[in-house]
């Protein structure tokens, strides 16, 4: 909302100068792609579909047995409470091995991978995550038998709100 003074104003001359510099940097980026591209990719963001494909290939995810508990409206995208629960069994032969958590709109959609063991007793994990914008939150659970279970929940991220 508020504008703060950030050094000298952008005059036409400095703009042309900085544009030139940026252009030079762009050329440099072309010349040495491995050095520059990872950082750019991190800011621009990965696609959630690519991430899922890389991790799970074409394996089938059954959308059941998993519940995501998250607010409908998150007042601050930097702190979104999230609880992932599942009614899948947690015994020595058959248990939830890993909980993967994703936020679609984030620059890095894969937020956390949590490895559980039968000693947990119940498949549940709660945390607070950052979300860049309104998007879906996904959880995909891997069981020790190799099945995948998942759930999707949309979360609205509002910024601005009331009372500065």
């Amino acid at each position: 909302m508020e504008q703060e003074d950030k050094g000298p104003a952008l005059t036409r001359r400095t703009f042309i100068k900085s544009a030139g510099v940026a252009g030079a940097m762009f050329l440099a980026a072309g010349a040495f792609p491995p050095l520059v591209r990872p950082a750019l990719a991190a800011v621009k963001g990965e696609n959630i579909n690519e991430v899922l494909k890389r991790q799970f290939g074409n394996r089938k995810v059954s959308m059941s047995h998993v519940t995501i508990n998250a607010p409908i409206i998150a007042e601050n995208g930097a702190v979104v409470p999230l609880t992932i629960t599942s009614d899948l069994p947690m015994n020595n032969n058959d248990y939830v091995k890993k909980i993967n958590v994703y936020a679609d709109g984030n620059p890095e959609p894969y937020i956390a991978g949590i490895e559980l063991t039968p000693a947990n007793g119940k498949a549940m994990f709660a945390m607070r995550i950052k979300m860049r914008k309104t998007s879906n939150v996904r959880a995909i659970l891997e069981t020790s038998r190799g099945q995948l279970y998942g759930a999707i929940k949309p979360v609205k991220v509002t910024i601005g709100g009331c009372g500065g």
């Binding site: 930097a78 947990n120 994990f125």
Partner: protein, 108 residues
């Protein structure tokens, strides 16, 4: 704020074999490395990327985190309290910091 203060919360009375909820909070800035400060410089990435939870000698849970976890990370999970042993939570961040704390779990 002091980085790496840890608070672990477990129920007061625990029965043997009961599945108890455990909550933990740690103070950490969790900087993403994507945000600039007021002077226009990028704040370098500084976040916890690895959490290990031990119950006795056994590693119960392991978390692999990106910077997408909020500042002052909070976690909550269940634990089957079937032995008298310490519950230890170890946080490691990307700058080599290691923070840990343990609580004794004594089921009756």
């Amino acid at each position: 704020m002091v980085v790496g203060r840890i608070k672990i919360r477990v129920p007061g009375t625990i029965r043997k074999g009961e599945v108890i909820p455990v909550m933990a909070l740690v103070s950490h800035p969790m900087d993403t490395g994507l945000i600039k400060n007021k002077a226009g410089q990028i704040i370098p990435a500084y976040y916890i990327n690895d959490v290990d939870i031990f119950y006795g000698n056994e590693r119960v849970t392991h978390c692999d985190w990106s910077y997408g976890i909020s500042a002052n990370p909070f976690i909550s999970f269940y634990l089957k309290a079937d032995k008298t042993a310490p519950l230890k939570i170890v946080y490691k961040d990307n700058k080599g910091g290691v923070y840990q704390q343990s609580v004794q779990i004594t089921p009756r």
